[in-house]
């Protein structure tokens, strides 16, 4: 399965600032996904990032708040913009590995705390 890394692993940020989270995969993948896991909650899909096209956002998530880049087949970034304490969450990226039958594999996550 694909090996996925995320940077930073955790951060503490001030209200009103922005943070960009990086997701790196050790192999080329078509689809990359970004999820949010609020404290004590399950995972919610933010958007899907396909290389060469704009990200597709889920209901309740907008590009101005969570801009996503996907410059190549092994890398993506998610920016959390104009942060508020409600954005404190774990942000996870995942990739779909078609080599193993449409299965998503997850990165270790980025734990974000907004003060």
């Amino acid at each position: 399965s694909a090996v996925i890394s995320q940077k930073p692993s955790r951060d503490i940020c001030q209200r009103g600032t922005s943070l960009t989270i990086q997701c790196q995969v050790d192999s080329q993948v078509t689809m990359m996904f970004w999820y949010r896991q609020q404290p004590g909650q399950s995972l919610t899909l933010i958007a899907t990032a396909n290389q060469g096209s704009e990200a597709t956002y889920e209901s309740g998530f907008v590009i101005d708040k969570f801009p996503i880049s996907r410059p190549n087949l092994t890398f993506s970034t998610l920016t959390v913009s104009n942060m508020s304490p409600e954005d404190s969450s774990i942000y996870l990226c995942s990739v779909e590995d078609r080599g193993t039958l449409d299965t998503q594999y997850f990165g270790p996550g980025t734990r974000l705390t907004v003060l």
Partner: protein
């Protein structure tokens, strides 16, 4: 709309005891089903998955799950729990292939505690 229900928020078992975590799904067609585990401070690790075929699937770490279409269930089992199994377990169903990819819908999760 597709959904996943994990009825048990917390479960506590003794080390060496058997374990069953419940998962019920709502999906019109034959579902793709997954179980993931999240250890404290970690990302999600895939335990096992069901796409088709044999309804009893084996996974890593000694886990297995059984797909029962009549009950819309995909329960996770382990015959003997180890202290290192303490974690949060998520059941997920894949939906919406219209874009050519799976969209995972997760259950709320079950937090497993293991007593020595």
């Amino acid at each position: 709309a597709q959904s996943v229900t994990q009825p048990d928020i917390h479960i506590t078992v003794s080390e060496g005891a058997s374990l069953e975590l419940r998962c019920n799904y709502s999906y019109g067609a034959t579902p793709y089903l997954f179980w993931y585990v999240q250890s404290p401070g970690q990302g999600l690790q895939l335990l096992l998955k069901y796409f088709s075929g044999d309804t009893l699937v084996q996974g890593i770490k000694g886990f297995e799950a059984e797909f029962k279409r009549s009950q819309s269930s995909f329960n996770l089992r382990k015959p003997s729990v180890h202290w290192s199994d303490a974690a949060e377990y998520f059941c997920a169903v894949a939906s919406d292939f219209s874009g050519g990819y799976n969209k995972l819908i997760f259950g709320a999760g079950t937090r497993l505690a293991v007593h020595p």
